[in-house]
Symmetry: C2
Subunit: 399 residues, 2 copies
């Protein structure tokens, strides 16, 4: 299958190129390298895994997989770029990872809020218009986030739910209550893609993904040039990867606040397998559908306990030191999302407990690279203070 990956240089994008390339798919990709720049300039950090530049990555891809991957450097916000790339590639499927993925980055200030809206929404709108023009039958696989749903006091279905209200029944999009500008842009994308499918007959699978963790795929073999990036800084790092990095250098694990925040998680191998399952089982023409892409549900406290236990088995001394929660979010709530669609397609998930030991081994090899950036581990962006003039603690009823 001809697979087009928008954001091919990212954590998931590069891993997917290697994963699907290893399985015989033809890989086409684009990236503007903004993630590398943002982690360096704004996160004041670097990828903990020592990643290669794209030319070396492509060289290693060719050597290890035996076929080249097609790549063009460019920005989805440049319509002519994405239009000509899709026209040239004429893909069967487009996997859209090409967005600014950090909640704290989006909350730094007004400029980062607008940048995140512009980058994510206009990139997605350009992909939709370019698809409609160049490959209207392609299957758009879009990366959303479980964070779109927030933490409602009812079960979370997969995108839509059938309800009775005042004696009548309908199937409606499940309400979204996102917790950062970044998460809001994913909600906006969801609404826009749903509309494009309805009006233009495009087809799309929107993946509400949990927090991804993991250091690499077996398909990367021992070729360091095939490694994907891994971030642990306060802007681009995510919970499991960051806790493991903290454990490796003897830094206390840093859950936010009471730690009762419950989220969904997925290993990077399962994330890849989910994309493969969706490729093999595409949406129908004109269909917009949502899959929840996660395998485990844990509170932040449980997460810290798991990493602590795995660390101690690996002879690491691990402490837990909660820090003030920079976000506006409930620290104790109901959370029961559905993930039966991927289970029905046969996903056989990795368990976090089985994945953590290998992650700690990989991260121990990169200990010096973590150590040199340990000042970046603690988040600096405060949700409440993200607009000048709003005093801390001024937050409203939702806080």
């Amino acid at each position: 299958m001809k697979v087009f990956i928008a954001g091919m240089d990212g954590y998931l994008g590069w891993a997917l190129a290697v994963y699907l390339g290893s399985r015989g798919h033809d890989i086409y990709g684009v990236d503007a390298f903004l993630r590398r720049k943002w982690v360096n300039d704004e996160g004041e950090s670097h990828s903990i895994s020592p990643i290669a530049a794209m030319p070396e990555r492509l060289q290693a891809f060719q050597e290890q997989i035996g076929r080249p991957a097609w790549f063009r450097e460019g920005n989805l916000c440049d319509f002519e770029f994405i239009r000509s790339a899709l026209a040239e590639a004429s893909p069967d499927a487009i996997i859209h990872f090409g967005e600014q993925p950090s909640a704290p980055f989006s909350m730094i200030d007004r400029e980062h809020c607008i940048l995140t809206h512009e980058n994510n929404m206009f990139g997605t709108l350009n992909v939709l218009y370019a698809m409609a023009e160049c490959c209207p039958s392609a299957h758009l696989i879009k990366l959303g986030t479980m964070g779109e749903y927030g933490t409602p006091n009812v079960d979370i279905p997969e995108g839509f739910f059938t309800i009775e209200y005042k004696g009548r029944t309908d199937t409606l999009p499940f309400p979204r209550q996102a917790g950062s500008w970044y998460h809001q842009t994913k909600v906006h994308d969801t609404n826009n893609i749903m509309f494009a499918c309805k009006v233009w007959g495009l087809r799309s699978t929107d993946l509400m993904q949990g927090v991804v963790y993991g250091t690499r795929l077996s398909e990367m073999k021992d070729d360091q040039r095939l490694l994907t990036r891994l971030d642990i800084d306060g802007l681009f790092g995510t919970a499991v990867n960051r806790f493991c990095a903290e454990a490796v250098i003897g830094h206390p694990l840093t859950p936010y606040g009471a730690g009762g925040q419950t989220r969904s998680f997925i290993n990077i191998r399962d994330s890849m397998r989910c994309i493969e399952l969706v490729l093999e089982n595409p949406a129908a023409n004109g269909e917009y559908r949502v899959f929840n892409q996660f395998t485990e549900v844990l509170s932040v406290v449980q997460l810290a306990e798991k990493v602590k236990a795995a660390g101690e088995k690996a002879n690491l001394e691990v402490t837990v030191h909660p820090i003030r929660n920079p976000r506006v979010e409930s620290e104790s709530h109901y959370y029961n999302p559905d993930n039966s669609k991927f289970r029905a397609l046969g996903l056989d998930p990795v368990h976090m407990d089985d994945a953590l030991p290998g992650m700690l081994v990989d991260l121990s090899r990169w200990r010096d690279r973590i150590e040199s950036k340990k000042n970046c581990l603690i988040p600096k962006v405060e949700w409440r203070e993200s607009a000048p003039g709003v005093p801390v603690g001024h937050a409203g009823s939702g806080a």
Copy 2:
């Protein structure tokens, strides 16, 4: 009260300045005059009411009301502009009408889709950041649209609904299913404003307004310089105003398709009164709330019948000639929205049947101005063809 009107030169903005100014409020306003430009350049039309330029409007305001209105020309997308305007005005309430309000305009092509997103969303985000910085206690009254809800098969509440789902209960935002890029931007705004209230403790009333109709307010007296604009072209005209204009020049009324599309409507006088009621009964600090702002529910066929009946009483010969529906929308559906909040506040609504005769009189005075633009009455923008490459009739399951 110090009232700041974003979009003060528009159909509702100017009318509100006159209405609230006449009731003793201090009026502050901004506008970039984009609506005048868009109607001229893209709609190839003009305001059917012969409106004055802003300097004359302000002169007439001062003469008739006895106090000046404060006005600055500028764009909400220019953050420094809106920040300094709000800092100078230091308003008690901000009424945000400053958006691109046309669904067909947003569907012309990719550029108009992006322009509508940029203009509406970034303008609103700038207002939120500027409020947070300059007047965090001000009450933001934002113009949304009943079109955010689409046409679900259940009753439409006012923004939120309490449901039972799988044995548990929560109060959640009612799902939005908007029918154009313009309507989508209003949904995106809704989500963003709700989030800003939660995180920064701002307060806002989001008005889901029905289709507004009416040619003027009694507060405009006989001073032609106080008239507000009125559009009838295929881009910026709306149903009732356009049907009345058609009736006046003997053009057939032009409902789209089967005409079973049912929508909510409100007279411009009631629209003004609703804003006044909300000003007098503001949201609490940190509160985000939604009011549905309409007074009557009618199908397009019923609307045409009403205008036909009123026209015949006025000795006009009125015919009805349905045209192909350029939109992707259901032409027969359930529709039962709630508007009890404004009724509870004491809104005593105008009935359309009572308003139509006066509208026909006004429009008859402007007959030549309608006649000269009658080629602009018929919509030219097709939803399905709005992306190049998508063949007509290719629309998906939602069509």
